[in-house]
């Protein structure tokens, strides 16, 4: 509930999202998908809509669609079919778009994501496959140009229930969805290339004097950035309240309207449309036979599904003791997250691996303008370095030096640590000699450690430091501690 013009207002928002699928070729023909290719160079009789040309379904598009739908917890239709959605527009060569009307590929899903310390649960109404239209080039004198390279590109249209309640929530949904489809490899999800397009349906419930007034739904067309999605919703909410105050028109008395988004002025604007614009006259496409998605096929696709980003983030927080923010950032890059898991599977200490991924490996990756995965160090080597630290064979500073050496040559971390003289000494005879030397040179501290309860702790710490210094930092601190205690005990007993 928000306050607009002194009224309690509840925004009701649903989203339609078009996701461009990451196939190599188009939905119904073998034309390659290539962004920025010369206009009308990636076309064939099928996507040009030439008479007699017949569409054939791209198996990969179906599989990617099912994978996205599974991640959205949808049911997959056993039988799904293809329908023609008829309308005239120059970028639509057949004068119809092949889509799915009454038997969509998937339905009844749920997408959950964290926002403001709670979990938003947004129901998914349906997800279906369809083909994209071509592109209009408007900046020609007195005419438009049409490029049909994009015509026939496979899209997954995802439709939510009207469960979103604010512009922030809608934007977060979109961000999380983009992350999800990218993670799954279902889409390249490049916002700059229009791989995700949003169409929010917005209206508001206005509470006044115990009565509820519902404004007519407005659909804002073709938003291709998170910013414009947020802006359009944030603009529509007060606009609809003001319009209702001025006209009194509600959903019961007014029709659903389409509006566009003016990116420069940051306002929604009415779209001119004819009365019959929504009469799409859907009917089954006789050129395409139905599709049955058998349970075995779904099971196989489910098997191939990677762990989803939100689950993985949670697991990284607990398993690798990572702060939530860092876990989130790490999971973002799937290759690096996979590498961390592989290093742990190779037996590496998880907490130390987590630390290494956040600090030293992240720093080296940064310096080299790549990701941690891009450093191309094997999981086994990463694990070995982590374990050298975990078992106290080298200290944290030495680990950074070994790591740097690992980037320069291919030797194992243990070998490099030895070559660089960074292995902590476990030679008790040598350490005992350093202890004797340190105690002899610091009689006052020894005295405090033995007889001054107030200073004993500090004095012992000082002596440990002295031994470490004598060893050049290479003595194993645990052994040093033990030997100092033993030497002090001998003196106390003497």
């Amino acid at each position: 509930m928000v306050q607009v013009c002194g009224l309690d207002v509840e925004p009701i928002i649903g989203l339609e999202i078009h996701v461009q699928l990451a196939t190599r070729t188009k939905m119904f023909c073998g034309c390659p998908l290539e962004f920025g290719a010369r206009p009308n160079s990636r076309v064939c009789p099928v996507c040009l809509g030439l008479p007699g040309a017949l569409p054939v379904i791209n198996r990969q598009a179906v599989e990617l669609g099912v994978q996205a739908a599974l991640a959205l917890n949808c049911s997959i239709a056993e039988l799904t079919k293809w329908d023609r959605k008829s309308y005239y527009y120059p970028d639509l060569p057949k004068n119809y778009q092949i889509s799915q009307y009454d038997l969509p590929l998937a339905f009844d899903g749920l997408f959950e994501f964290p926002i403001d310390d709670r979990i938003a649960r947004i129901r998914i109404l349906r997800a279906h496959l369809e083909e994209d239209a071509g592109k209009n080039v408007h900046d020609l004198p007195g005419c438009s140009g049409i490029d049909l390279n994009r015509a026939g590109t496979p899209l997954l249209e995802i439709v939510t229930q009207p469960d979103l309640r604010s512009a922030d929530e809608a934007r977060e949904f979109a961000v999380q969805l983009q992350r999800l489809v990218h993670y799954l490899g279902v889409s390249h999800a490049d916002m700059q290339k229009g791989h995700l397009r949003f169409e929010p349906n917005i209206n508001v419930r206005i509470h006044r004097d115990g009565q509820v007034f519902v404004t007519p739904i407005v659909e804002v067309k073709n938003l291709n950035s998170f910013r414009s999605l947020h802006g359009a919703i944030a603009y529509e909410i007060p606009r609809q309240v003001e319009e209702w105050l001025a006209t009194g028109v509600t959903a019961a008395t007014g029709n659903k309207r389409n509006r566009g988004w003016d990116d420069t002025r940051e306002v929604t604007v009415p779209q001119r449309e004819k009365e019959e614009a929504h009469d799409y006259r859907y009917f089954p496409d006789p050129d395409l036979v139905p599709l049955t998605v058998q349970a075995a096929w779904v099971a196989e696709l489910r098997e191939r599904q990677p762990e989803l980003p939100l689950c993985r983030t949670e697991r990284f927080i607990s398993e690798y003791s990572l702060p939530p923010r860092d876990a989130h950032a790490l999971v973002e890059d799937r290759a690096t997250a996979d590498l961390l898991d592989h290093a742990a599977e190779a037996g590496g200490d998880k907490v130390v691996l987590g630390k290494h991924f956040l600090s030293l490996w992240a720093r080296f990756a940064n310096e080299r303008g790549t990701t941690i995965a891009g450093l191309r160090i094997s999981p086994g080597r990463l694990a070995e370095l982590a374990n050298l630290v975990a078992t106290g064979r080298i200290n944290a500073t030495a680990a950074a030096q070994v790591a740097e050496a690992m980037l320069a040559n291919h030797d194992a971390p243990t070998v490099l640590a030895e070559e660089l003289g960074l292995m902590q000494s476990r030679d008790t005879d040598r350490i005992a000699a350093w202890v004797t030397e340190a105690l002899a040179a610091n009689a006052a501290a020894v005295q405090d450690a033995l007889a001054n309860p107030k200073k004993a702790r500090a004095a012992r710490g000082f002596l440990t430091g002295q031994v470490m210094k004598l060893s050049g930092g290479r003595a194993d601190p645990k052994i040093v501690g033990e030997l100092i205690d033993r030497a002090l005990a001998e003196r106390a007993g003497a």
Binding site: K81, P90, H138, I146, D147, L291, T292
Partner: protein
């Protein structure tokens, strides 16, 4: 689709199909379309209780192809039938962008 075929209906269908009809033609097609719908309507007499709706008359499903590129048409060939062109683009009257 129920609903009688009258002149208004014919005008609406013509509008959707971007056809401009004269009043005489509207009269003509109202009669013809009406007769056609009446003919097909005989099917209403067939009892269909308990019959599964048919998604396609051919008892075949799952005709799929692999996601492998196939040769495309040369741009010049693709544009050969275009009434007008603008470089590599099809040239059409200016359209107001209102999406699909």
């Amino acid at each position: 689709m129920a609903g009688e075929i009258d002149a208004e209906r014919v005008r609406q269908i013509a509008r959707l199909a971007r056809l401009r009809l004269s009043d005489d033609e509207v009269m003509l097609f109202t009669g013809q379309l009406g007769a056609l719908v009446e003919y097909v309507r005989q099917l209403d007499a067939v009892p269909t209780d308990g019959v599964e709706p048919l998604a396609h008359p051919v008892p075949v499903a799952n005709v799929l192809r692999d996601d492998r590129p196939t040769p495309t048409l040369d741009t010049e060939v693709a544009l050969r039938n275009a009434p007008q062109r603008e470089g590599p683009l099809f040239r059409v009257p200016r359209v107001l962008d209102q999406g699909a």
